[in-house]
């Protein structure tokens, strides 16, 4: 499998200044809104500590909680299925749809179904799938995966959406005002809720003590998908478990505040049992999670509640765009999850970080994201997955940095080099730092020279 080249892929995104600047600004705005919400709650840090402890407790007793959830959900009248991987998940969903002769499936946002590549699997078997979340629908109609786990089309501007919609759902290509585009999608999607044979949702939380699951959304699409067709299927990763209903207070208070800077999502739905006369199926999906649970140093990534706060704050993510990660999960949380799926394919991703730790400090469940990024780098180096240029650069840097004499010579050479070397020596394919940016002017004297003169 081909290694994802994040830097190369991001160069396509960076080409459009307008897109890049908007993307950076929009996500930073979400980060600031998150800060305002967090600062308004005096117990915020206590909530983070609670959330982290509840998740760690659950993961350390996950087997028992999964069984408790299954027992209660089944007693409530839900059907619970277990999928060890993506293929089994897709097959279970397909069989459920087939049994009822479903031809149209309306679905709300679920990163898990993206992770499982479910859409092409079902479409190849003749099922029409309508993504109902606006951002997700834009991406579906444009043939692209979501670029952000909360705001899937954040890398697009209104003109891009106008083009996609005029091509696919017949909007006026000259009209790109946002309410018009959103209203057009509403009008186009609503008939599907009425004719769909099944609705599908993901879940943000699954509560063991009640056998219920929670879906947090803003558009009303998840509840239309779940409350109109006679079949509702929910795909849930096994790490979504929490023990008690009371724990939801902690997580629901933080989820939308961390994600969008709003105190709660417009609609927070709790599904405990099917409507009379309908079927409600839950697919519990492993797909590598139980393996990750046993990975020393990496298992805390399973605490993630998918708020996206780490992405919004990450300078690399904001300036490279989610699609350049070439994976279902992008940004800081992505770079610590993706290598567990495929080390070789995603071995470049942990290097898409400045290790500034901002991701860790905004994470509502206190995942040590930047520590894990660093840890992955070590694993990748140990397993011989570093690209040649980086390996050579690191080998040289190691030599130079371990010898004061060599280091001083290198500093002198760099000072001279930056001033006198031809541009092609600095701005060339071997020097990633020379791409998309000007290398700063070197100071006349190094700190050491200044110190020796002035001490």
């Amino acid at each position: 499998m081909k290694r994802v080249d994040h830097a190369e892929a991001s160069s396509h995104f960076i080409k459009s200044k307008e897109h890049l600047e908007f993307h950076d600004r929009r996500l930073w705005d979400l980060r600031q809104k998150r800060d305002r919400e967090a600062e308004a709650i005096p117990e915020w840090e206590e909530l983070r500590a609670l959330a982290s402890a509840i998740k760690e407790h659950t993961l350390s007793h996950l087997g028992d909680y999964l069984e408790q959830f299954e027992r209660n959900a089944t007693a409530n009248g839900m059907r619970v299925h277990w999928a060890r991987d993506a293929a089994e998940h897709n097959q279970i969903v397909y069989d459920l749809l087939g049994k009822q002769g479903v031809e149209i499936l309306v679905k709300s946002k679920s990163m898990l179904t993206d992770e499982c590549d479910m859409r092409p699997f079902l479409e190849n078997r003749g099922i029409e799938i309508v993504e109902t979340d606006l951002g997700e629908r834009i991406q579906q109609l444009d043939g692209e995966p979501p670029s952000h786990i909360v705001v899937p089309a954040v890398h697009k501007l209104r003109g891009d959406v106008a083009q996609v919609f005029s091509r696919t759902i017949g909007t006026d290509p000259k009209k790109s005002d946002v309410p018009y585009l959103a209203e057009s999608q509403r009008q186009h999607t609503r008939p599907y809720y009425l004719k769909a044979g099944a609705g599908m949702t993901g879940a943000n939380f699954a509560v063991a003590e009640t056998g219920s699951f929670v879906v947090c959304t803003n558009e009303g699409n998840a509840d239309l998908s779940a409350n109109l067709p006679k079949l509702h299927i929910a795909s849930i990763g096994i790490e979504k478990l929490i023990p008690r209903i009371a724990d939801l207070g902690v997580f629901v208070r933080m989820l939308s505040r961390s994600a969008l800077g709003s105190p709660i999502t417009q609609i927070t739905s709790h599904f405990r049992a099917p409507r009379p006369g309908t079927e409600l199926h839950v697919v519990l999906v492993d797909n590598g999670r139980s393996e990750r649970l046993g990975m020393e140093g990496f298992w805390p990534s399973l605490k993630c509640i998918r708020c996206g706060a780490c992405m919004n704050t990450c300078p690399v993510y904001r300036r490279s765009g989610g699609l350049s990660y070439g994976a279902t999960y992008s940004g800081p949380i992505g770079v610590i999850i993706d290598p567990a799926f495929n080390l070789r394919k995603y071995s470049a991703l942990p290097f898409a970080s400045t290790l500034n730790g901002s991701c860790t400090s905004v994470c509502p469940v206190k995942i040590n994201i930047h520590d894990q990024i660093y840890r992955w780098r070590k694993v990748i180096a140990e397993r011989g997955q570093l690209p040649m240029v980086k390996k050579e650069a690191m080998r040289m840097a190691g030599k130079v940095l371990s010898s004061p004499k060599l280091y001083r010579m290198a500093v002198k050479a760099a000072q001279a080099g930056l001033d006198y070397l031809p541009r092609s020596m600095i701005y060339n394919p071997l020097n990633a730092w020379g791409r998309q940016r000007e290398v700063p002017k070197a100071p006349k004297a190094s700190f050491r020279e200044w110190y020796l003169k002035n001490r």
Partner: protein
Amino acid sequence: MTSRSEILARVRRNQPAAVALPEVPLFDAVVHDFKTNLERMGGEFVSSLDIRKQFPEAKVICSAVPEVAGNRALPEGPNADPRELEDVDVGVVRARFGVAETGSVFLSEAEFKVNALGFLPQHLVVLLDMKAIVPNLHHAYRHPAFREARYAVFMTGPSATADIEGILVRGAQGIRSLTVVAC
């Protein structure tokens, strides 16, 4: 070996060392105002309501409460089809309780009668007894309704989206407006 037993076996083999489960306090320090928070989320708050005046264009009104008379009966009985609500302009329900911290109202199948009443109509009117407002979500999640209801939802203002350029559009795919009436 079934997938279920394979997954559970691997989970149990790989579980990290046991971590204790903390108790969740009620966090009562901050006093929240329901109306302010509801309005922030795009909801409207009124102390009394003449539904015809509020929605002069409305042709079809479907009410699940005795206080307000609609002109469309709720689909009832074992073969009731929620899709019959497709052309409803205004739905009317009574919330079980409200949450001051977020401006949310709690609704379940007991209040909706037909769950789609909260999403298919163009507008939703929610009656709320102001004495039934809890301070925050920690209090809310202690309510026994979460152990009884098949389907329970916090609705906070109308459906909304900001998926294009972060521009907020109220009235995404569900209701276009949510009006809470104190009574």
